[in-house]
Amino acid sequence: MQNNTQHLLDAANQVILGKAHKIRLALCCLIARGHLLIEDIPGVGKTTLANTLAKLLGLNCQRIQFTSDILPADIIGASVFDPKNLTFKFHPGPVFNQMVLADEINRATPKAQSALLEAMEEHNITVEGKTYPLPRPFFVMATQNPSHQIGTFPLPESQLDRFLMRLELGYPNHDAERLLLKGEDRRSLIASLPVKLPPEQLLNMQEAVTRVYVSNAVLDYCQAIISFTRESSEYYCGLSPRAGLALLNAAKAWAFMNQRDAVIPEDIQAVLAPVAGHRLRAGNNDSAAIVAPILAKVSVH
């Protein structure tokens, strides 16, 4: 099963150049049943990443472009009067897809944002007293412009907490950029991609991840990290219990992707920056810098 993930990653790396580690983390997030927030300036390949992953995983993908006048109904759908049957019929919105790319989520008003975030949390949508389940697997990949840009509503901490990981893609390096400039059009490349990991297999994987073993030693380390963030003066507010669970889930998925059946501290360290960075928010957006004191000071045993 793990071999398939490797094939998938290899294929994805052909499309998105020089971002192997980020792609790996994005897949890890997916396998851990989490949602992904990508925060970066426009044009570094956020949408390409979403489309590539959707294609390789054989998921139907829908993009929602968030704007300042988008309404919750534009996301979750609306009941429309059917003149034939004289009834209201629910027309599902773009959120009823296995993979949803929520582009520039922080350009929408908080009302519209929360419509999506609630769907992410509950895995179903209730409209006029009726509940509609969302498809499985369900994966939201939201992109966010850096909050200093004009016309943004930064996501509050409570909403940020719902994303398992936050990634910054960043500029490609020199060689990767040269290849990109030389190579063929990304869109046609994506169109030609085969499905490497069908949805059933993804569901199986997600199931298998929950069975990854976590020893007491790893739990000790995990708890040491959590209490460090709560006690240290470097962070305004420590990690929540939900964040602890998220960290452990992500670490399990990471261990699984590395063909191990038990989590080791390195797994936690590998996913710590994307999982804890946006939750700690120590004055900057550089996740790696935010978690650096944790990695340095919390000892591994």
């Binding site: 073993y213 020893s215 030693a217 038990a262 080791i264 944790i294 919390v298």
Partner: protein
């Protein structure tokens, strides 16, 4: 510092200061205590009502008031009492102007000084324990000031741990730090604290004042066997001169040079004598002291005298013999010991004649006289009727109620009438055996007077006429209260009350044993005892002492830090211990595992440095991961892991 933080710390600080000043209430003038607690409660109120705190002008006014109070009470600021009052008043005033964290520290340190000044007044074990407790609370206050989130419980716990950890250090400093004798001015007022004991004269009735006092005079610990109870006579002043009523010591001791050499017989008794502070320089040795060291000396009356200041507790090592022969009598002694105030009355002469005082051997007369006391209707009581005129005659022929001083005086007087040299010896008799510590406690109630008669060929011989009348007075301890109330000696009722009494007695003995050791080993550890103790350990000069002190402190610090460092490693499981051994082997290569570094990352680094051993490193790391983080590690894995680590050579 936020407000809530401030509040908790302040409550803590003020409470601990209230506790610290509490024992001083008995020492400083009442007015100053009231002033102190008034300001303290003012400050307490100020925690909640900030506006009520005095402004600068008011504080100035209060300072003037405080100084005026001190001056009016002590007429100055020098000396122990005035100094203590000054510190306490300053502490109270400083409380009213807490502005920054620095003020909190200042107050805490001032409070430590006030706590320490307690020992100028009282040095008992209880007080030491109390001060230790109070210091613990002060430490907790300091912990609170420094912690982000002050929690009194946790702070107290930390403070107690700190205090316990400091104890070994304190012990080393106590034993080895050079002693500086307290300057005299510090002890200004201590004179009137010394206890009054036996006086240097005796009048019928004078000892009865002491008879009621349970106050401790001295304690004796024997190295070997204890002398039998009826032989425990602790020799004090010898009274040879009489004016008919009072018996006093002779002033002129010149004859001491002509005394015969004492011949000691029988087994020696070696003991340590711990004198409580007193106002006279007498040391009550077991009759008769033979071996003793400076500053003790034996005067012409065979009484031990110390040259040192008797206001302090002092310990002496003495050896005594119960059997002795003082040899011949000097002329002066003979003159003193047969002196009478005027011509004795006919009645007494008649009695002496009747008892063959004039025609028989002295021994026979003594026997007859003691028999006379025994057979005639003489009574032992601590509340005898007053005998103003001619006390000896009144006692012998009229009242016949009396205690040791009456009997001793009457006995010696009769001897002298028969021209037999005799004198009164005062001191203590008996003492209660503390079974817990196996030492004797001699209290004021044990004060006694007996007689000494010089007999040809035997020297001065002790006779106790009181024993003839009330042998139980000599052979065992009497219950003073019973004696006083009933007028006669009686014993505790048997049965349940007796048991309860025994239990109480045992508890009291246990406590006084602890107290004895405390006084002996802690309070009495002065410069002289320190140098004696240290030279017994081979530490002779101050240089060696300092050397030992530094070593001792270094050792304790090392031990404590080792303990603190080791604490974490102790909890480690065997897998981790073996892995640590592996890490130690790699340290030789200049590679050290970072605290936050995972084993796999570390192995990656190590492999780069030691590529030829990559396989071993991989196996070791893999096994470690399996054992520590894996789901189903087996014992074989552990064995293999251990083996690999042991074989591994970097």
């Amino acid at each position: 510092m936020n407000n809530a933080h401030n509040k908790n710390v302040l409550i803590f600080l003020l409470s601990s200061i209230g506790l610290i000043a509490l024992p001083h209430v008995g020492h400083i003038p009442k007015v100053l205590s009231v002033f102190f607690y008034l300001l303290l409660s003012w400050r307490f109120t100020g925690i909640w009502k900030r506006n009520w705190l005095p402004n600068k002008l008011m504080v100035f006014f209060l300072t003037v008031c405080g100084l005026a109070l001190i001056y009016s009470q002590h007429q100055g600021v020098f000396g122990r009492n005035a100094g203590t009052s000054l510190f306490i008043t300053a502490l109270a005033l400083k409380l009213l102007e807490i502005k920054s964290e620095r003020d909190l520290y200042l107050i805490a340190y001032l409070a430590f000084i006030v706590a320490a000044s307690q020992f100028l007044y009282e040095q008992s074990l209880f007080m030491a324990a109390y001060i230790l407790f109070v210091c613990c609370v002060l430490f907790a206050t300091l912990v609170c000031i420094n912690s982000g989130k002050p929690q009194p419980g946790a702070a107290l716990k930390t403070a107690s741990i700190i205090t316990v950890q400091a104890i070994p250090m304190a012990v080393v400093l106590f034993i080895l730090f050079p002693r500086v004798e307290a300057p005299k001015w510090l002890m200004f007022n201590e004179k009137n604290q010394a206890k009054t004991g036996l006086s240097d004269y005796m009048k019928p009735g004078s000892i009865s004042d002491l008879g009621l006092s349970g106050e401790l005079v001295f304690r004796v610990k024997f190295t070997g066997a204890l002398p039998p109870p009826r032989q425990r006579y602790w020799r004090g002043p010898v009274l040879s001169h009489t004016d008919g009523k009072r018996w006093t010591q002779v002033k002129d001791m010149e004859f001491g040079r002509f005394l015969d050499k004492i011949v000691f017989k029988g087994p020696p008794y070696q003991y340590t004598l711990l004198m409580e502070p007193q106002d006279k320089n007498w040391v009550f040795a077991l009759d008769m002291p033979a071996v003793f060291a400076l500053p003790l000396s034996r005067n012409a009356n065979y009484q031990l005298i110390t040259d040192e200041n008797p206001d302090k507790r002092a310990e002496y090592k003495i050896t005594s013999y119960l059997n002795y022969n003082t040899g011949y009598i000097t002329r002066t002694e003979y003159k003193d010991a047969t002196q009478l105030a005027g011509e004795p009355s006919g009645k007494i002469k008649q009695l002496v004649k009747q008892l063959h005082g004039f025609d028989g051997a002295p021994e026979d007369f003594i026997k007859h006289l003691l028999n006379y006391f025994r057979k005639e209707n003489f009574h032992y009581t601590l509340t005898p009727p007053l005998m103003e005129e001619n006390p000896v005659e009144t006692f012998l022929f009229e009242t016949r109620y009396g205690f040791c001083s009456h009997y001793a005086a009457a006995f010696v007087y009769s001897m002298r009438v028969a021209r037999i040299p005799a004198r009164v010896v005062t001191g203590y008799q008996g003492g209660e055996l503390n079974t817990a510590g196996n030492f004797l406690e001699i209290r004021q109630a044990d004060a006694h007077a007996w007689a000494e008669v010089w007999i040809e060929g035997m020297g001065w011989v002790r006779f106790d006429p009181t024993a003839a009348v009330a042998p139980e007075r000599i052979e065992r301890n009497i219950d003073i209260e019973q004696l006083v109330q009933g007028g006669f000696i009686s014993y505790m009722p048997a049965g349940a009350a007796q048991e309860a009494f025994n239990w109480l007695k045992q508890t009291r003995q246990l406590w006084s044993n602890i107290d004895y050791n405390w006084q002996r080993w802690v309070i009495n550890y002065n410069g002289r005892n320190q140098s004696r103790f240290l030279s017994s350990l081979g530490i002779d000069d101050i240089k060696a002492m300092l050397y030992w002190m530094v070593c001792g402190i270094g050792l304790i610090t090392a031990l404590l830090s080792w303990f603190l460092l080791h604490q974490k490693q102790k909890a480690v499981d065997p897998v981790l211990r073996i892995y640590n051994r592996f890490c130690k082997k790699i340290i030789k290569q200049g590679l050290q595992k970072g605290a936050g570094e995972g084993v796999k990352d570390f192995a990656g680094r190590v492999k780069k440095k030691l590529p030829e051993q990559a396989a071993d490193i991989n196996r070791i790391t893999g096994l470690f991961i399996k054992l520590r983080y894996g789901r189903n590690a087996t014992l074989d894995d552990l064995k293999l892991f251990k083996e690999l680590v042991e074989k591994f050579k970097s």
